[in-house]
């Protein structure tokens, strides 16, 4: 393979590669500048340069790659939040199945009491995962459901309670207040809960993900991220900007619509896919 001198034109191409992966201009410029400082004037193949870029991205992502922490708390309450259609309900189905396979007793609560057939959707996932789904009628208060679900999970002696919530855009104050209330009510029952608040991000989302994390974090104390739909051509580069800005752990990625399509977040693999070196599996 032909070698090229790492010069400004080359660096601009690299920057554009990162931008097309949704890294955002600011972060892409910074990451490229780091590479430029290290490699300027050297003669490298395209592959070698991409490898170097992937190492740099991997270095940034390494500290945020952490699995969902498990606490000695019964039930450990996991609240799942995010904008509409990002993949919350599906991710809960996948998580329930994984934790069950790991020997945990899991209960799921259908906290989306708003969207048509949201409860039915989660019930199907509950059946698939083999875990009970606690529900309330459509239109009822999601905070009360969460409270009741905690009581029930305690009675059953469940290890984990996963609570689904309705999709909401972070600029909708009324809906964000509803979410804040869910958290408040959960804390009434157990001041240490929710033990994890997962924000589910859609990989096809562009720079708005930054606002999503910023606001959901303020309202609901997000403790970690899951990114879905990385099985498409979107490369989720905004995660790099997010790692930089917020440093929140990334627990898992969604790679499809089936129950097993949830993988741990692997920073090196992610970085290589982002730089066009390999596909995510």
């Amino acid at each position: 393979e032909a070698r090229r001198t790492v010069d400004d034109a080359m660096l601009e191409e690299l920057e554009e590669l990162l931008i097309t992966a949704d890294m955002g201009v600011e972060t892409a410029t910074r990451v490229t500048a780091n590479i430029g400082d290290a490699l300027h004037g050297r003669r490298l193949t395209t592959r070698e340069i991409k490898e170097a870029l992937a190492r740099e991205v991997g270095r940034i992502m390494e500290p945020v790659a952490r699995p969902l922490p498990i606490y000695p708390k019964k039930p450990q309450v996991v609240l799942v939040v995010g904008v509409n259609g990002s993949g919350k309900t599906t991710t809960i189905g996948k998580l329930a199945s994984q934790f069950k396979a790991a020997g945990k007793q899991v209960v799921v609560a259908a906290g989306d009491t708003f969207r048509a057939a949201a409860v039915e959707q989660l019930q199907v996932w509950g059946e698939r995962a083999g875990v009970p789904v606690l529900t309330a009628p459509e239109g009822s208060d999601p905070a009360s459901l969460a409270f009741d679900a905690m009581t029930r999970a305690e009675e059953i002696g469940a290890d984990l309670l996963l609570i689904d919530t309705a999709g909401r855009l972070q600029n909708r104050q009324d809906l964000m207040e509803e979410l804040a209330k869910i958290v408040r009510v959960i804390r009434k029952k157990d001041p240490s809960a929710p033990h994890n608040t997962l924000l589910v991000l859609d990989a096809t989302t562009g720079q708005n993900a930054v606002m999503q994390v910023d606001i959901f974090r303020k309202i609901a104390d997000v403790s970690g991220l899951v990114m879905t739909k990385l099985d498409g051509t979107a490369r989720g580069g905004v995660l790099v900007a997010l790692a930089d800005k917020f440093g929140l752990p990334i627990h898992a990625i969604g790679l499809g619509e089936q129950i097993d399509d949830l993988a741990p977040f692997d920073p090196q693999e992610f970085a290589r896919a982002l730089c066009g070196l390999e596909e995510l599996k």
Partner: protein, 298 residues
């Protein structure tokens, strides 16, 4: 969180006070800011490149008007060009749903808002144009997708094709077509399962559905918060299924909505509607002016 274009350009032009024509160097640094602003608004890079080229042609050598600053002048050129590109050269007219029963096919990625938009569109056609509408869910994939559409149909008082468990999407499409003719419906809308543009099998299935019903409109439903992937989605759906129009959802969010420009530029098809909420009345006709301002953060 992101600076808008006027703010960016005011920096570039601060030192340029004397009047005259915009020099090439002025234009070049201004275009750099335009590029960044559009990328931060999530316009896809290839579309940004084309756009910047078009603006460059218009801006170079243009006399600086006395009444406005060079920065304002560039913003105006960019704004006008954005509106022109978003609106397209020809008026797309109304949806082609004469000759009953007119099929409309809804396609798009997972979770983009197809089912919700199907209901919104049905409600609009019923309430504003007095159309008799039949809805059918071809989504045999997502749990409770058919129930979701059935519930929405009941909420808006629009019929949905009875659910027959185990039927495949092609068979459902055929049944919808027959039912729409026999039942004297004006329009029937086919909601489909979300699919990735690179999922060859599911894309072929959507194309097969298309061949069964010959839709009058095939609407690509796209999340308005989409980033750089818009270019791939637009290219593939249009090439493999053939879209006649676009609907952008979640425009009630605080995203800049650059996907609108990507979609329009790549498919060349009109953006018909924007979704502005989860309720079935939250659908509006696309307005190039408003979206242009939003992309520029103005």
């Amino acid at each position: 969180m992101f600076e808008n274009l006027s703010e960016r350009l005011s920096g570039v032009f601060d030192r340029l006070t004397k009047q005259g024509a915009l020099s090439e160097a002025d234009v070049e640094s201004a275009l750099r800011e335009v590029r960044t602003a559009l990328l931060e608004a999530d316009v896809s890079l290839p579309v940004v490149r084309e756009f910047v080229k078009a603006v460059s042609k218009k801006a170079t050598g243009q006399a600086v008007t006395k009444s406005i600053t060079p920065g304002q002048q560039v913003v105006k050129i960019v704004h006008d060009e954005l509106i022109a590109m978003l609106a397209g050269d020809t008026d797309p007219g109304v949806l082609k749903i004469d000759s009953p029963p007119a099929p409309i096919l809804m396609v798009g990625l997972q979770g983009s808002g197809k089912t919700t938009t199907t209901a919104k569109l049905a409600r609009r056609l019923k309430d504003r144009e007095g159309k008799r509408v039949l809805l059918a869910s071809l989504d045999t994939n997502r749990p409770a997708a058919m129930e979701q559409l059935a519930i929405l149909g009941t909420q808006i008082g629009v019929d949905t094709l009875p659910i027959v468990k185990g039927e495949d999407p092609i068979a459902i499409a055929k049944r919808a077509k027959t039912q729409a003719s026999l039942g004297g419906y004006d329009v029937y809308i086919l909601d489909t399962a979300g699919r990735l543009h690179i999922d060859a099998e599911l894309i072929a299935q959507a194309a097969a559905v298309r061949d069964v019903v010959s839709p009058r409109e095939t609407l690509l439903v796209v999340d308005g918060l989409t980033g750089q992937d818009a270019v791939n989605v637009a290219t593939e759906f249009d090439a493999k299924i053939g879209v006649t129009g676009v609907v952008l959802t979640r425009m009630d969010g605080d995203g800049r909505g650059g996907a609108a420009l990507s979609m329009r530029a790549i498919t060349g098809k009109p953006i018909r509607f924007i979704g502005l909420g989860e309720k079935t009345d939250a659908l509006e006709v696309f307005d190039a002016n408003r979206i242009a301002g939003r992309i520029l953060g103005m």
